[in-house]
Every structure is written in structure tokens, then in C-alpha cells.
């Protein structure tokens, strides 16, 4: 290993996990943690069974159900949709047969796979982490190399604990300065995607750096890394620092005592060396970021909340004009319309992007002493049973319920239109999730992505609203 050449955080984790390099430069990369869920694994386990193969390292594998499940009381009496039930039962059968640790639906620790990995201390700095889910990039917030894979690769990791990979390119996104009033991690990442586009990070791993990133807590860093995939990058990372170590230290599966000190010594060597090469670099000024909201059907179609719906005819070329016309039509908008005049039917606070305790606190701070506008369905879906429990200990559920929010059980919920939580055709939703694609939250549904505080403000206003006009009435 050429130790003298300055290396990035990504380079260091990569180098530490190369088992072998094939003649064409493809690496056999060791995987330290494989997270699995019910949707992208049945065919992989079936493949193992057909070939008579075993799970090589069940101890480095963890399974949970999150995508397919209901987030109301009905989960206690069993899954009603027969296909969803079969998928969950199939996972339960597979984890038993292959000896994979599993967190069942009614366990307090159950939750969205990308929330529970860090929460339980299974996801740690310096690790390679994969999951059959594109938002695996979330775990990069810990200073890990974490990325989503397809089902064939899930099978490959189950069988070999490795993946065949070509090294990605390095990209740095620097966010300098202090965030402005009313803004959060979600506004940072939406602004980044608005700047570099949904393919801006393709082929790269993004390292987020700069004071604005350093100043974020772990939840904020997870929000930023989570949406790396919406910028086209498979992985996003933040160099581990004291914020990271403090977060990790108390987690149940984190190393303890001497093992922790040993791990810490290694983790401290991970940050990018001065002078390391980035193939691409982008810089944003944090203070220039206003609260963001998407107006179109791609996460790059994002504007400050003070903006208006663009006119497709202003676009430079016909292909883009056609694309924008389709978006305006699908979203039920009029060019020139103020975003703040758009009435919402549903507000969804949840998903692997924004369902941690910090997100729920941010929503509750805005909701406290206020009421959800009439005709608006507003729901808060904690990312895990443990987040739910903590929020209840802090009395956040009471604040939210009193304001008229539904307080639900942990799961992916309305992020993806797969379980019972779906939009109806034509419904407009202010959502803290990650994708505003056509039909993502249900066929014909219209999604506006924004931060938890902005979502809470939208619920109160009954329309997209500027959170800066809805500051807390009293401290939560």
C-alpha cells in the first residue's frame, strides 16, 4: 500500500477492505455489515438455497422488516395484504433457515433499516456497509463506506461476504459557513442536489466537508448522506470526529472498554489527508441557503420556499421544455404560481431521511400550541420503535397529537407507496422523504420534499409555508 500518497476518507476505507485485486482492476471488497430487509432479499435467499450455499457470516448480517408493514395498530393483529404478509413471512423463514439475526416486527428495536443500524451501534466508522436499498448511503454519516446494492449482489454478499467493485471516483462537497435561521440538514442536501443535479455525483463517492457539515449533529449528517443517491452518488460520507465518537460510544453493539479505545485509535486515522486528490469538487455557502422545497418530479427541481413555479417555456432546449411541461402538468401547477400558495392535503414526517428523534423534536417545536389546518391529514412516523419510545418519554407525541398529527408506529410508511400508507391520485403532500418521482407515494400523488420543520409549518398553514414565519411559540 502506498501510504505516503495523501488519501481521502473513501480511499482509506477502500484500501482497508480490498481482499484481492483482479487483473482488470476490479477489487474483491470485504463487507463488514450487511443489512437486509424483506423486499430485496427473497430472491437472494432462494438463489443460495438453489445452489446449496450458506450465509458466510450471519454475525455480520442483520435483518429487519420495514418497507411492507403497516404503521398503525393493525400491525399487532397481523399483515392483511396477502402479498406483503408472504414477503415478511418469507424473510422470517429465511433468517431462521440461514441463522441470520433478525429484529421482529413487534420488537421495540424494529424500525427503518437505515435508522436502526446506527442507533444500535451495528453501523460503525470505518466499516463497509451494504444493503439492498439505495438509501444505505445514510450510514456514511458515521464515516463508513455504505452503499445500496441490487438483489444479485445481496446474494453475492450473503454467500461470500464480499462484492466485486471498481473503485469510485472521489468528489468533495464543501459547505462553508453557518446555516441561516430556519434551515437544517435537509435544506443543505436539497440545495446541493439543486446545484449539482440528480446525476451530479454519478460514479463518485461524495465526501461532505466544511464547517456547516461539522456543525451538524449525527441525525443531520445522516439526512445529508441519505440523499447522496438523489445526487447520483452511491455513497456519501462525513469524516468521523468527536460528534461521531460521542454518538457511537453508548450504542449497544458498539465496542466497549479497551476494544472501543482500540477502534477509536483507528477511526482517528480515517479523515482525508491534507492534499488528497478529489476528482470533482463543489462548494456552497451555508448562509445563502434558504428553506428549500421541491416543486417538480425530480429532486433537482428544488427552489427556496419564497420561489414561484418556473415557466417551462423559459428552458433552454425543447427536451427540457417538454420535461418541465410534463412536471408542471403532473404536479397540477401553474407557471408563476407562488410555492407558498400551494395547498396541501397530506403532510408526512418520516422516512430514513428524517425520522430520527431530532427530526421529531424539530417538527414538535413548530407544532406546539398550534393546530393542523382543517382538511389536512398530517402524520408523524418515527424511524424506529426506540425513537418512538424516546419521543414519548419527552412528551413529543402529546404535543403532536394535540396539534392534530397522527402518531404512528415505525416503518418506511408513506415514503414509497408500498404499504397501506399511500397518497390518493391528485393529493398534494408535503413530505420529509427523499423522492418526489411521479407516483412514488402512490399513483397520481404529488410530492413536495422539505425539512421536518417546514413540513410541520405546512401542516399548520394547510399550504406550503415558510418555516421562518412559524417559529416556536414556546420552548419544547
Amino acid at each position: 500500500m502506498s501510504e505516503r500518497k495523501p488519501r481521502t476518507l473513501f480511499d482509506k476505507i477502500w484500501d482497508a477492505h480490498v481482499v484481492e485485486t483482479l487483473p482488470d482492476g476490479t477489487a474483491l471488497l470485504y463487507i463488514d455489515l450487511h443489512l437486509t430487509h424483506e423486499v430485496t432479499t427473497p430472491q437472494a435467499f432462494e438463489g443460495l438455497r438453489a445452489a446449496g450455499r450458506k450465509v458466510r457470516r450471519p454475525d455480520l448480517t442483520l435483518a429487519v422488516v420495514d418497507h411492507n408493514i403497516a404503521t398503525d395498530e393493525s400491525r399487532r393483529t397481523g399483515i392483511t395484504d396477502p402479498e406483503s404478509r408472504l414477503q415478511v413471512e418469507t424473510l422470517e423463514k429465511n433468517v431462521q433457515e440461514f441463522g441470520v439475526p433478525y429484529i421482529p416486527l413487534l420488537d421495540d428495536r424494529q424500525g427503518i433499516v437505515h435508522v436502526i443500524g446506527p442507533e444500535l451501534g451495528r453501523s460503525l466508522p470505518g466499516m463497509t456497509i451494504v444493503c439492498g436499498d439505495s438509501h444505505t448511503s445514510t450510514h456514511g454519516a458515521l464515516g463508513a463506506l455504505a452503499f445500496g446494492i441490487g438483489t444479485s449482489e445481496v446474494e453475492h454478499v450473503l454467500a461470500t461476504q464480499t462484492l466485486l467493485q471498481k473503485p469510485a471516483k472521489n468528489m468533495q462537497v464543501l459547505v462553508e459557513g453557518n446555516l441561516a435561521f430556519g434551515c437544517s440538514a435537509k435544506d443543505i442536501v436539497l440545495a446541493i442536489i439543486g446545484k449539482i443535479g440528480t446525476a451530479g455525483g454519478t460514479g463518485h463517492v461524495i465526501e461532505y466537508a466544511g464547517d456547516a457539515i461539522r456543525a451538524l449533529d449525527m441525525a443531520g449528517r445522516m439526512t445529508v448522506c441519505n440523499m447522496s443517491i438523489e445526487a447520483g452518488a452511491r455513497a456519501g460520507m462525513v469524516a468521523p470526529d468527536e460528534t461521531t465518537f460521542d454518538y457511537v460510544k453508548t450504542r449497544p453493539f458498539a465496542p466497549k472498554g479497551e476494544a472501543f479505545e482500540r477502534a477509536l485509535a483507528w477511526w482517528r486515522t480515517l479523515p482525508t489527508d491534507p492534499g488528497a486528490h478529489f476528482d470533482k469538487a463543489v462548494k456552497l455557502e451555508a448562509h445563502a441557503i434558504a428553506p428549500q422545497v421541491t416543486w417538480g418530479t425530480s429532486p433537482e427541481d428544488v427552489l427556496p420556499i419564497t420561489g414561484v413555479v418556473p415557466n417551462p417555456e423559459d428552458a433552454a432546449d425543447e427536451a427540457r421544455r417538454a420535461q418541465l411541461r410534463r412536471m408542471v402538468e403532473y404536479m397540477g401547477l401553474t407557471p408563476g404560481q407562488r410555492l407558498q400558495d400551494l395547498k396541501v392535503d397530506v403532510v408526512f414526517i418520516g422516512s430514513c431521511t428524517n425520522s430520527r428523534i431530532e427530526d421529531i423534536r424539530a417538527a414538535a417545536a413548530i407544532a406546539k400550541g398550534r393546530k393542523v389546518a382543517e382538511g389536512v391529514r398530517a402524520m408523524v412516523v418515527p424511524g424506529s420503535g426506540l425513537v418512538k419510545k424516546q419521543a414519548e418519554q419527552e412528551g413529543l407525541d402529546r404535543i403532536l397529537r394535540e396539534a392534530g398529527f397522527e402518531w404512528r408506529e415505525a416503518g418506511c410508511s408513506m415514503c414509497l407507496g408500498m404499504n397501506p400508507d399511500k397518497l390518493k391520485p391528485g393529493q398534494r403532500c408535503a413530505s420529509t422523504s427523499n423522492r418526489n418521482f411521479e407516483g412514488r407515494q402512490g399513483p397520481g400523488g404529488r410530492t413536495h420534499l422539505l425539512s421536518p420543520a417546514m413540513a410541520a409549518a405546512a401542516a399548520i398553514a394547510g399550504r406550503l409555508a415558510d418555516v421562518r414565519d412559524y417559529q416556536p411559540k414556546e420552548a419544547v
Partner: protein, 203 residues
């Protein structure tokens, strides 16, 4: 995996950028535990109207594109979710090759694992191929992986690049788990070293 060598067939033009995997196969159709049967829900939200009837404006509901084996689209095809159900749905419908200016990484990867060939060609070329495709049933394209060329209906050959290892696996229909397991001794050695240096992993 079925090998991909050369394919001659009808190409369907889909002049859209950022075709995401939710568009290719919406999440509500991901509940199957099998790899097959997703073709009927390929592009479901575009292909069917709310009442379930076919949307006649969508290209795959038109002749001759109902039998399309090649799809031509614009930038960032396959962005979004990692669902391998996207290439499974294309394959189950009968599409074994997608041509676009560029692809999202995970989708691109997933295609190769399933005998679907993603071909990157510049936007102008994609536009030209879409024009060819609009000529209808007699205008077949040939995609030759062996020679790495797309052959237009007029016989013109357009070369394309593909990763040599992936080309090799696709041409021979090889399962890469079998290949990787040949490296088992190296994996054993790596794990032994890791147990010594990072004993907390998997503990």
C-alpha cells in the same frame, strides 16, 4: 444467467430523461418473492390508466413496440431505488437492451447481473436511433456485444464501450458468485487478519 451475444429486434423510443426505477416498476408491485412475472407491471403508471385499461399514448401499448426488445431513452436512466425488479421487469417484458446517454450506477450494475445490456451512447446518437425506431416494425436495430457495435437499419455501425470483465461475464452468461468463491482462501486470510485487528466486528 442467459448469455447476451447479439440481439436484433424492435426498438421502442422513450424520449425521457431521469427515467427512475419507480417509473420502471412502482413499489406496490415489488411484493413478489420470485424474479419473474414483473413484465406486466413494467412502466405501470405510464402504461395503464387509473381504471386499469391501457393508455394508448404510451409507446409499449403501440404496434410494433409491444414486441420491443430494445429501449432507447435519455440521460440518467434507472435513477432512484436499487430495486433489481427494474431489470427483472424489463427482461420479463422482453427488453434485453437499453440504450441511453448515461445510466444511474446501481441500475447499470443490476442490468449486467441479469443478462440485460445497458449501452451508453451520446445524446445525438440516441436521438438518431429514436428516429430509426419511429420508422416502425421493419426498422430493426442490432446490438452486437461481441463486436461492440449497434447496427442501424441502414447498416451504419455505431461502436460502443463496455467494461471488459462485464462483457466477458455477459457473453458467457457467467454467475459471478461461482467466480468469487474461487477466491475463498483469500477471503479466509482477510477474515483471519480482521479478527486480529478488529476483534469487535461481529462480536
Amino acid at each position: 444467467m442467459q448469455p447476451f451475444t447479439t440481439l436484433t429486434g424492435i426498438a421502442a423510443p422513450l424520449p425521457m430523461a431521469n427515467v427512475d426505477t419507480d417509473k420502471i416498476i412502482p413499489a406496490r408491485f415489488l411484493k413478489s418473492i420470485s424474479r419473474t412475472g414483473f413484465g406486466k407491471n413494467l412502466f405501470a403508471n405510464l402504461r395503464y390508466r387509473e381504471d386499469g385499461s391501457e393508455n394508448p399514448d404510451f409507446v409499449l401499448n403501440q404496434e410494433p413496440y409491444r414486441k420491443a426488445e430494445i429501449l432507447i431513452a435519455f440521460e440518467n436512466f434507472g435513477c432512484g431505488s436499487s430495486r433489481e425488479h427494474a431489470p427483472w421487469a424489463l427482461l420479463d417484458f422482453g427488453i434485453r437492451c437499453v440504450i441511453a446517454p448515461d445510466f444511474a450506477d446501481i441500475f447499470h450494475n443490476n442490468c449486467f447481473k441479469n443478462g440485460v445490456l445497458p449501452v451508453r451512447l451520446p445524446r445525438e446518437v440516441c436521438e438518431q436511433l429514436m428516429e430509426d425506431a419511429r420508422m416502425g416494425g421493419n426498422a430493426r436495430l442490432t446490438v452486437d456485444l461481441e463486436r461492440q457495435v449497434v447496427v442501424r437499419p441502414n447498416g451504419e455501425e455505431i461502436p460502443f464501450q463496455v467494461d471488459p470483465l462485464r462483457r466477458h461475464l455477459l457473453l458467457n452468461g457467467l454467475d459471478d458468485i461461482g467466480q468469487t468463491l474461487q477466491h475463498a482462501p483469500a477471503i479466509d486470510r482477510y477474515e483471519a487478519k480482521q479478527r486480529a485487528t478488529q476483534p469487535w466486528l461481529g462480536a
